[in-house]
Symmetry: C2
Subunit: 112 residues, 2 copies
Amino acid sequence: MAIMPDRELKKGNAELLILALLEEKTRHGYEIGKLIAARSEGVLRFHVASLYPLLYRLERRGWVKGEWEPAGGRRRRYYRLTPTGRRILAEQRSRWRAFSGAVNRIVEVRHA
Amino acid sequence: MAIMPDRELKKGNAELLILALLEEKTRHGYEIGKLIAARSEGVLRFHVASLYPLLYRLERRGWVKGEWEPAGGRRRRYYRLTPTGRRILAEQRSRWRAFSGAVNRIVEVRHA
DNA sequence: TCGCCATATATGGCTGTACTATATATCTGC
DNA sequence: GCAGATATATAGTACAGCCATATATGGCGA
């Protein structure tokens, strides 16, 4: 509650965020983490310890495909969206719209 | 994934939904559950087994105050928002706006 | 050249929220 | 009188994301 109040809010959205970022181009884990923080202007921050297991999960399900690429003496694993991943992204996008719309209908009631 | 795909999406929003509904007037648990389903047009459904413990939690924290009222031979526990609860509601509303706005900035990128 | 920070990935154990399953009891309409 | 809606209660479970910790490279300043 104190430090990271949105902890629970984020649940169920991490996958959608990652898939959406991979829609544009292939990216590696660390980059994805930084990008989420940047584009959300610091509102959303995923810890690396959440991110990597999440990427493995997505790969295990066949939604993304990772590939090691050397960057100097350092290695990076770049992920790209699979056709299945693209379909799931579309589904999760519409689920998010329905969900956030429903929450807003209840929470944003104009009260005189 | 099959029956209740938003299971994780809902985490962290239940409290906000309940507080928002109690802002209008005092309500009892069962009523709150029905109202969430109705206003969200079936998108959001909280099982009673989630609802009651949640209400106890809110009461334990002093955000709501419950009171037994007989309704015929049946008893109902009506909850009303406390001043603290009202403050928390305002906080959670703005957290939700920030959160959903941030998700939208990442997910709803207009891609040519 | 040595130390520090950012970059980059990996993983075991924990927390907290909502669910499943099950239980009790009253009211209403057929 | 019996089915289904109303109304509340709770023990046990699942699982996403976090904390702590570990390893290793690249670049910058003192």
